[in-house]
Structures are given as structure tokens and as C-alpha cells.
């Protein structure tokens, strides 16, 4: 049984169909890339899976359970964590407290190791993303790259079985990008399942085994990075019609 099954998911805003009849599935341990030109509906698809938007039709099943109509916090507590495209830190809280909020969720509290304090766990998460030196710094003082990592730490603190990363590389410089690629590879080795929305194809193709291409809300291709890079339809969408 796949970890996540998305079936015929559709969402329209007024006359615009942002996500049109999209189906795919994610197996446990997979790292899947979700690409497509601007406005292809990638973020909307994430919003639908994570419950921030309600779909018009279609179902989302997680571990065989229908989660289509659940509230966002309930979906997180089922084991799907997400990051945001534009960083959304808690600006008034220090970095460690940002992660502590996620540690206060029911799922994280239940999964907390015996005799381990939530504070210790929050610090471990910051260490995992390489932010432990900044733990007491208010989030509003952190640089953009650090905030991206903080958001990862926060998502990881909810003990997810599936991570949805919405453009994790946007706004990062090459050094930060390399660091994040390594972090994600390590998470993959640790057995995390991930779906990554990304524009930076070069970074993405290093990470994923399967790519899904969206265009105007519809899935136009699915396959390994190599297959996708040779797919005529995809090249057309990205480069424009040749000849």
C-alpha cells in the first residue's frame, strides 16, 4: 500500500482550474519531485494535501485513511508535515522556541522519547539543520537561508512520516543550496519520505528518483529524472515549442 495516494484531485478558483484531476501516489521511502512552470498548481496541490485548502473533488488517502476533509493541524498529527514557499517563522520567538511550538503538538508529545525534554528535542532538531548556534536568536534577526532551515527543523519536530517541502531552495545561495541538498540526502537515508516542489531543477534532479510534471493544473508527465529530461512534452512546456 502506498503511503500517500492522491486520486482525481480538482480545485478551481472561480473560472480558473488550478489543479485538474491530478492523481499520483508516493511509496514509503520515496523522494518525489514536483515541477512545472509558474502557476502550474504545484503549491495549490500542496495546500490541498496538507488541508489548508479544501478540494472540490477527489480524495487524498494517507496510510489508507481518507484525510481529504481534515483540518490542517489534524493532518500534521497524522504524520504529514509541510514547509511554506515563503518562510513563515514566528518572528517574536527565538529559534529554539519556534521548534518548541512544533514539539508541543499532540503527535510530537506522544512520540517524545522517554526522559527526553521537549527543549532537548528542539535543540536536536536545530542541530540537525545546523542552526544550534542561533538557538536564542529571535527569528526576526535570522537570515533568509537560516529561516528556511528553521522551517525544516520545525517540520521535522512534528515527527512526520511524509515531508512536503515547498521550494526549499528558493532564495538560497550556492553554498546554502549544497548544504541543504546534503541535509535532504541525509534525511532520505534516515528513511524520510519526501515530496519536493522546486524550480531549481539542477538541485532537484540530484535528489529525486521520480518526477511529476504539472502544467496548467494537469499532470503531463511522470517518471525518472532521465525520462523527464527527454520527454518532448516537458521540454515544450519549459522551453517553448521548438521549430
Amino acid at each position: 500500500m502506498p503511503l500517500l495516494e492522491v486520486e482525481n484531485l480538482t480545485k478551481s478558483f472561480g473560472g480558473l482550474t488550478a489543479v485538474n484531476n491530478v492523481s499520483f501516489h508516493v511509496d514509503e521511502g520515496d523522494v518525489i519531485g514536483l515541477i512545472g512552470p509558474n502557476g502550474a498548481g504545484k503549491t495549490t496541490l500542496f495546500q490541498l494535501i496538507s488541508g489548508f485548502l479544501k478540494s472540490d473533488s477527489g480524495t487524498v488517502r494517507f496510510k489508507g485513511e481518507d484525510i481529504t476533509r481534515l483540518a490542517p493541524h489534524k493532518i500534521v498529527n497524522k504524520g504529514i508535515a509541510r514547509t511554506f514557499q515563503v518562510v513563515r517563522p514566528f518572528r517574536h520567538l527565538p529559534a529554539i522556541a519556534n521548534v518548541l511550538v512544533a514539539c508541543a503538538s499532540p503527535r510530537a508529545s506522544k512520540k517524545l522519547e522517554w526522559l527526553k525534554s521537549p527543549e532537548r528535542k528542539a535543540l536536536d532538531m536545530l542541530e540537525l539543520v545546523g542552526l544550534s548556534e542561533m538557538m536564542l536568536e529571535p527569528a526576526e534577526n535570522l537570515a533568509h537561508g537560516d529561516l528556511k532551515r528553521l522551517e525544516m527543523a520545525r517540520a521535522l519536530a512534528t515527527e512526520p512520516d511524509l515531508l512536503l517541502l515547498d521550494e526549499p531552495f528558493s532564495g538560497l545561495n550556492p553554498i546554502e543550496t549544497d548544504f541543504l541538498i546534503k541535509s535532504i540526502q541525509r534525511l532520505h537515508l534516515d528513511g524520510y519520505t519526501m515530496v519536493i516542489v522546486e524550480h531549481k531543477l539542477r538541485a532537484l534532479m540530484k535528489l529525486v528518483r521520480k518526477v511529476i510534471v504539472l502544467h496548467y493544473g494537469e499532470k503531463i508527465a511522470e517518471g525518472s529524472p532521465k525520462e523527464i529530461s527527454q520527454n518532448k512534452k516537458v521540454i515544450e512546456v519549459y522551453m517553448g515549442r521548438v521549430g
Partner: protein, 345 residues
């Protein structure tokens, strides 16, 4: 065993209070309030201070709701009024003792907060503010319609009676002063602990970014309701104390406990002292209330002077007076620690 226990309490007290200048300052100020009666002030001065403490508690409860969780309420008087009326009615018509009427008033407040919270916390920002503004005004007007049981506009006449008179010959003011001071101090510590607990952190996260809190798996509605109820409980405690204190000057009326001014006092006091701090509103309530009385001699001009002072202070220290002082103190300690560390090197 007992000695070991005391030693531990003492050492934790030293590290947690004496070594933190801002907490030491708070402790010193509290001791100062303890010894004020030793200067044999008139009962009028004690009365002013009693009301100041009640408002301090009331403002602190508002701060937990607004400064921490960001749910801006302009109608906090609702809970003050409900608790004041509940304890006044129970005490006057049913003859219940004070230790029963005040908790019952608080309980009713919590219940009302729960019932009103469900629909009203669904709206956000300015809409929530307007909704909360309406509630006390509705109750205020509704009370006018019930003249016989609750006395309409004039309210319920209620003799202040925290202590049976026969035991305290002429020292009722003093006894009440200490009672309310202690209740205020302990409630303030509880509120401060809540604000700085894990729950408090989650509340700030909701204030900062609700969607991100949801993405952290936090049931935002549950936490909002929780803080609404907690805040109502403490506002109710303040209201109940007010109903039975000398501050009510013998009657609980819609104007004195449900009016717009009652809703606005905690706001001014909190912003003056420092929002989101819990100690800020207490400092604010104490200084503003005594200031207002101090300018009694200026008659009609007193409100003008009072408002000018508030405006000057807020312009000079927009973060709040108490917050400014505490931040300065913390900075100094940090600097001192850095210097000590460098010396060791």
C-alpha cells in the same frame, strides 16, 4: 530532611530571583507595597491602592489574552461585570459567603467565555475586536431592563464585607489591603508562569502566524479558547474582588463594572506598562491609578493632565515603561557577565 528541603528552596530562590535584577526589583517593589500601611496612611489612600491592585489584576488578565495570544478584545469589562454581578447577587440575595461567591462568579465567567468564544473566535483581527466590544454594552443595556432584581441603573447596594466586622475593630481597610495585595500578587505570578510556559510560547506563535502554527500541528482554536477562558477567569477574580471591596463604594452598578471605561482601563494600563509582559499592566495600573488621584487637586484639568502624561510616556517609551526598565536591566547584566568572562580569560 526538612532542612535540606529548605536549603534547596533557598538556593533556587537565590539563583532565580536574587541573581536576576529585574525579578529582584519586582520583589523589592512588592515589599515596598507591603510596608506602605506602616506609614499610617489615611483609609482614603488605602482605598485608592486597593482599587489599583484590582485593576492591576484585571489588566494583567487582559494582557494574557491580547499581549500573548493577540486576540484583541475591547470588551474585557464583560467578565469583570459578570463576576461582580454574580458575586453581588449571590451574596445579597442568597447570603452566600465571599469565599463561595467569588469562585462561582469566576466559574460563570469561564462558562460565558467558552460559549462566546466558540462563535466569536472564528472571526479575526478588527472583526473580533468589534464583536467583543459589543458584548458588555449589550449586558449593560440589558441590566437597565431588570430594575427590581438587580436595581437597574443604580445597581445592587452591597456593604463591603471581606471580613466580619466584629473581629476587626477599625482595621477592615488594612485587612482588605493585604488580602487584595496578596491575591493580586499570587494571581500575577500564576499569569506570568502561564505566559512563559510552553502554552505561552504556543500562544505567541498563534499571534505571529496562525497558519504556521497549524502547520506545526497546533489546534489553534483550542488554544484560543483556552486563553480566552483563562483570561476570563482572572478578570472574573478581579470583578468579584471589586464587588466586595470598599472600591465599589457600596454598590455594583452597570456603569461602574460594565461601562466603556472599565473596558478601556486595562488597555491604557497595559500599553503604558508594556504589552505582552504581564508585569507591565501591573506597573501601569499602579502608576496610572495613583497618578489620576494625585491630580485630584486640579479639578476639571485633571483628565487633561493625566492624558498628556500618558501620551508623553507612550511617545517616549512606546514599548511600555516597565518593559523599558526591565530590558535596560537585562542589558546591564549581560554586559556585566561579558566583562566578567573577559576578565577570567
Amino acid at each position: 530532611m526538612v532542612r535540606y528541603f529548605f536549603r534547596r528552596i533557598y538556593s533556587s530562590f537565590v539563583t532565580n530571583v536574587f541573581d536576576v535584577p529585574s525579578k529582584l526589583l519586582a520583589l523589592l517593589l512588592f515589599m515596598l507595597l507591603l510596608v506602605i500601611p506602616a506609614t499610617r496612611p489615611s483609609s482614603y489612600v488605602l482605598l485608592i491602592l486597593i482599587i489599583a491592585y484590582i485593576y492591576a489584576l484585571f489588566a494583567a488578565s487582559w494582557d494574557l489574552l491580547v499581549g500573548r495570544a493577540g486576540q484583541v478584545s475591547l470588551g474585557h469589562a464583560l467578565f469583570f461585570g459578570i463576576a461582580a454581578y454574580t458575586s453581588a447577587i449571590l451574596s445579597k440575595f442568597y447570603g452566600l459567603p465571599i469565599w463561595a461567591t467569588i469562585p462561582l462568579g469566576m466559574l460563570l465567567c469561564a462558562l460565558v467565555a467558552l460559549l462566546l468564544g466558540f462563535p466569536s473566535l472564528r472571526v479575526k483581527g478588527p472583526y473580533l475586536t468589534l464583536v467583543t466590544l459589543a458584548f458588555p454594552l449589550i449586558l449593560h443595556t440589558a441590566l437597565f431592563a431588570f430594575d427590581p432584581p438587580v436595581g437597574g441603573e443604580y445597581g445592587i447596594a452591597l456593604p463591603p464585607r471581606f471580613f466580619p466586622r466584629k473581629f476587626l475593630l477599625g482595621t477592615e481597610f488594612l485587612a482588605e489591603y493585604y488580602l487584595i495585595l496578596f491575591v493580586m500578587f499570587i494571581s500575577a505570578i500564576i499569569l506570568y508562569k502561564i505566559a512563559n510556559s510552553k502554552t505561552g510560547i504556543v500562544l505567541v506563535s498563534i499571534l505571529d502566524d496562525e497558519s504556521a502554527s497549524k502547520a506545526c500541528g497546533i489546534n489553534v482554536t483550542k488554544y484560543k479558547l483556552l486563553v480566552f477562558v483563562l483570561s476570563a477567569l482572572f478578570a472574573g477574580l478581579a470583578g468579584g474582588l471589586y464587588a466586595h471591596s470598599f472600591g465599589a463604594i457600596g454598590s455594583v452598578s452597570p456603569g461602574s463594572v460594565l461601562g466603556l471605561t472599565t473596558s478601556f482601563y486595562p488597555i491604557i494600563m497595559t500599553i503604558f506598562g508594556g504589552i505582552g509582559t504581564i508585569y507591565g499592566p501591573i506597573v501601569g495600573a499602579f502608576s496610572l491609578w495613583t497618578l489620576m488621584e494625585f491630580f485630584q487637586f486640579a479639578d476639571e484639568l485633571r483628565v487633561l493632565i493625566y492624558i498628556s502624561i500618558i501620551i508623553i510616556f507612550i511617545l517616549k517609551w512606546p514599548k511600555g515603561v516597565a518593559k523599558f526598565v526591565v530590558e535596560k536591566l537585562d542589558e546591564l547584566t549581560e554586559k556585566r557577565e561579558l566583562e566578567e568572562r573577559e576578565k577570567k580569560k
